[in-house]
């Protein structure tokens, strides 16, 4: 028997997680692992067959075929992740009614001028979208607070309907919902319009993060979500939770907030460590602290599931899907090369076009480099040196630190984060927040998946649901 290349990592429960370039994985216990390293076989015949079927080992007769299979799989994976399948983001305004502590997008005052999209640009933006990719289209309206310019959102929808054809696109509005009203609801009713909103916890936590002059961000959100659920249905609203320092101590607050609003699915993530976020010492925490929090949150969610309340945490689902589902590469953060440009094209309010939400933010902080790929009228995506360099340097297969990591085939790369924190796109993984976060998520989730069968069944439902 001939051993084939693989990487490994130790899970908390003591088992050892193996993966190879083709994306196969397997879990061994310590003694099986030792035997395998020693002699390319364990004393468990069934396990040996499994390891052979997953291309961790080959019989000598078929070595060339096995090698060809590994190559074919790697090529399939690389080409799949190179596919250009962008989500199109449009920023109708940078103005916002909120003044949040950690606002990731530098915002503009609600009354400021010069931060809105020129209505005449909309038709060009939509025709550019049509030229760039085949249907279906997903158009995400970003901000600022886009509901400040509902007129522009409607114009975008109308343009999309006439140029892209109904049924070929959907519009996702990312909004705090503070300006939601009945007229918006009735407009959305028969249109492919979805809402995505930030929910940072229950009243106290949410209002501490999401600062409105009237101090009632949570109440407004709660009312709007209730109306969306009543009028449009549960599939029209989704939430994102950004974990701040104050939430770290109170994971159950997220769950309670979702239950209070009647939403079963949550998407929880750590605060972005970008240098340009208004990070004050009070909002900073380590990934170790985050994982302690996440573990509590996760355990409570699983407990709810076991008691018949079908809560879903989507970050967990996304990480596991990357491992369990061959070809799953729709999540821009977890792919290599990075999802920059390949998964996202952003049309900013000032007609500039960016390859991700983060690049337009980087632009606000690092003014002397042009992070855009030009204006919508003079777009040059391919010839842009900066994006070539960024994407080129985002293949984690060859990154120091990643090449011996067992999660490399499932992980991604974030050149923008590394630029913002370390001044270069590859980053020192030993200090990288991106690496710490994702590595620990994989490690934690796979441990739970393999060491606890009841949890495993719930996680399977999340991945397949």
């Amino acid at each position: 028997m001939r051993m084939l290349p693989f990487n490994f990592d130790r899970l908390d429960s003591g088992s050892i997680f193996l993966s190879n370039v083709a994306g196969f994985h397997s879990c061994l216990d310590q003694s099986e692992f030792d035997e395998f390293i020693e002699s390319s076989a364990t004393s468990n015949r069934t396990l040996n067959d499994l390891l052979q079927s997953k291309l961790f080992v080959s019989d000598n007769d078929n070595l060339d075929a096995t090698q060809a299979a590994l190559s074919s799989a790697l090529a399939k994976k690389l080409l799949g992740e190179l596919e250009f399948r962008p989500i199109f983001m449009i920023v109708p305004t940078l103005r916002c009614d909120h003044a949040c502590n950690y606002c990731q997008v530098s915002r503009a005052n609600a009354k400021a001028s010069g931060y809105d999209l020129d209505p005449n640009a909309i038709s060009i933006i939509v025709s550019t979208i049509k030229r760039l990719s085949p249907p279906p289209y997903k158009i995400e309206i970003q901000g600022g607070e886009p509901l400040l310019r509902m007129d522009l959102i409607k114009a975008i929808y109308d343009q999309a309907e006439s140029q892209l054809q109904p049924g070929n696109f959907e519009l996702v509005i990312t909004t705090s919902l503070s300006l939601m009203d009945e007229s918006i609801l009735s407009w959305a009713r028969n249109r492919a319009v979805y809402f995505s909103t930030s929910l940072d916890g229950q009243q106290e936590v949410h209002n501490a993060n999401r600062i409105l002059p009237s101090q009632d961000s949570y109440e407004r959100l709660k009312h709007s979500v209730k109306r969306i659920l009543e009028e449009l249905g549960a599939n029209r609203i989704a939430t994102v939770t950004t974990v701040t320092r104050s939430l770290l101590e109170a994971p159950e607050s997220i769950i309670e907030a979702h239950l209070e609003l009647g939403i079963n699915e949550m998407f929880v993530r750590p605060i972005s460590p970008y240098g340009f976020a208004n990070t004050k010492p009070s909002t900073e925490y380590s990934i170790a602290e985050y994982m302690t929090f996440y573990e509590k949150l996760f355990n409570t969610i699983i407990k709810h599931n076991q008691e018949g309340i079908p809560l879903v945490e989507s970050s967990a689902a996304i990480h596991l899907k990357r491992v369990l589902i061959p070809g799953y590469s729709q999540y821009a953060d977890l792919k290599s090369p990075s999802g920059l440009l390949l998964n996202c094209v952003l049309f900013n309010y000032d007609s500039k076009v960016y390859g991700s939400d983060e690049t337009r933010m980087l632009q606000r902080v690092i003014g002397d480099i042009d992070f855009s790929c030009g204006e919508v009228n003079s777009l040059s995506l391919v010839k842009n040196d900066l994006y070539q360099k960024l994407i080129s340097s985002s293949f984690n297969l060859v990154h120091p630190g990643c090449e011996t990591c067992a999660y490399q085939p499932y992980c991604g790369s974030d050149p923008c984060q590394h630029i913002s924190l370390m001044g270069e796109p590859v980053g020192d993984k030993s200090l990288s927040v991106f690496c710490h976060y994702h590595k620990n998520m994989f490690r934690f989730l796979l441990d739970r998946y393999y060491s606890h069968p009841p949890t495993r069944n719930i996680l399977k439902d999340w991945c397949h649901g």
């Binding site: 067959d49 019989d59 075929a65 074919s72 070809g327």
Partner: protein
């Protein structure tokens, strides 16, 4: 005699004997000769004068035959005076055999191979397909059709030229595709017409696959072949037949296909058919689906996870649990498909794949009670 869904063999009336060979069967008098095959006219038993046409080679008076064919079907007359309908417009599935030669010796081969020159089968198949002019799918089986190599490329060219609307589904062990040049030639032809290859893979353990197909080195060729074919754009239906030797490998075969192979258009999991050599070692091969349900389910799950379409073939519904019914398809060719008497009361009969006629006697696994009591109530 068991009642099949569609009868396909008929004894010809002894008067006016028809010479052996392939014929285009006509129910109306043709006004022109056929380029590819001689034509015979099928009439009912009532005597009528032989029609005055130079375009037909003979007349068969048989109501039984007439009732079972359509104008334009293809039949083969044997020396013993029987006629077998090989391409039928009424059939759920048409297949032609192009060779009996094979480089595998599958333990459950339904068409045990013979080592002799049988190029004439390829010629007859080509002429029959051209004469049949179907715009549907015709199955090509063997033997191993790709043993023809160059000739098979000519055969495909012939079909593309003379029966351009006909799609082909070709059963092959895929070993020939390990030759990249040959695979590219086939791939070129897949651009011109709709061609799918049905290729079996029985295990990702090379020795296990080789043992089941009775040929050392087969796994290696088939794996290299599947990789080449898929990556070159040849559409592949991947076939898995669970036996006692490989039922545990179902889900790893599926995961392998989804990670390493491209262009898998369908994964077909097929219940063993008790014909040919499978009968010899039936008791060492056959495994009742109920004894490997978890493996079956895991395989289906793995396919769904990877967005690979998956189907169960030849599984009577009463042999698998209800959650797997959506994947079971009625697929047994109608001329060898039957339902035992016990099935007559079953409410699901119309949706059920039923049995192979060959599964009678000691190979039969009788219908069972379905949990919800739909069987026999």
């Amino acid at each position: 005699m068991v009642e099949t869904i569609r009868k396909d063999v008929f004894q010809l009336p002894p008067e006016n004997p028809i010479a052996a060979g392939h014929y285009l069967l006509r129910t109306t008098v043709p006004d022109s000769s056929n380029h590819y095959l001689n034509q015979i006219l099928i009439k009912d038993d009532v005597y009528s004068p032989k029609p005055n046409s130079q375009c037909i080679t003979g007349v068969v008076r048989s109501s039984g035959l007439l009732g079972n064919i359509s104008d334009g079907d293809i039949g083969v007359v044997n020396a013993n005076g029987t006629l077998r309908v090989i391409l039928s417009r009424n059939a759920n599935h048409n297949t032609v055999l192009v060779t009996e030669r094979c480089n595998n010796r599958c333990l459950f081969c339904s068409q045990p191979p013979k080592e002799r020159d049988d190029d004439h089968l390829l010629v007859q198949a080509g002429l029959a397909i051209a004469a049949f002019q179907s715009d549907d799918i015709i199955g090509i089986s063997g033997g191993e059709p790709l043993l023809y190599r160059e000739k098979f490329l000519r055969f495909l060219d012939f079909v593309i030229l003379h029966a351009p609307s006909t799609s082909l589904h070709i059963l092959s062990n895929g070993r020939a595709f390990s030759d990249t040049g040959f695979a590219s030639e086939i791939a070129k032809r897949c651009q011109d017409t709709s061609i799918t290859f049905g290729i079996p893979l029985y295990s990702i353990l090379g020795s296990n696959h080789d043992r089941l197909v009775g040929a050392h080195g087969a796994y290696r060729d088939t794996i290299n072949g599947l990789i080449n074919a898929g990556n070159l754009g040849i559409p592949i239906e991947l076939r898995i037949i669970p036996t006692q030797q490989n039922y545990k490998d179902i889900s790893t075969i599926v995961e392998f296909s989804s990670r390493c192979l491209s262009n898998i258009v369908q994964v077909s999991i097929m219940n063993l058919e008790p014909t040919g050599w499978a009968k010899n070692s039936w008791h060492n091969l056959y495994l009742s689906p109920s004894s490997y349900l978890d493996d079956l389910r895991n395989g289906i799950e793995a396919a769904i996870e990877a967005s690979l379409p998956v189907c169960l073939f030849n599984f009577p519904l009463c042999h698998i649990p209800e959650d797997l019914w959506p994947y079971a398809v009625q697929s047994i060719s109608d001329w060898k498909n039957y339902y035992p008497n016990e099935c007559s009361q079953c409410q699901l009969k119309s949706k059920c794949p039923g049995y192979f006629t060959s599964s009678r006697g000691k190979f039969h696994h009788p219908p069972r009670r379905i949990e919800q009591c739909v069987n026999g109530t």
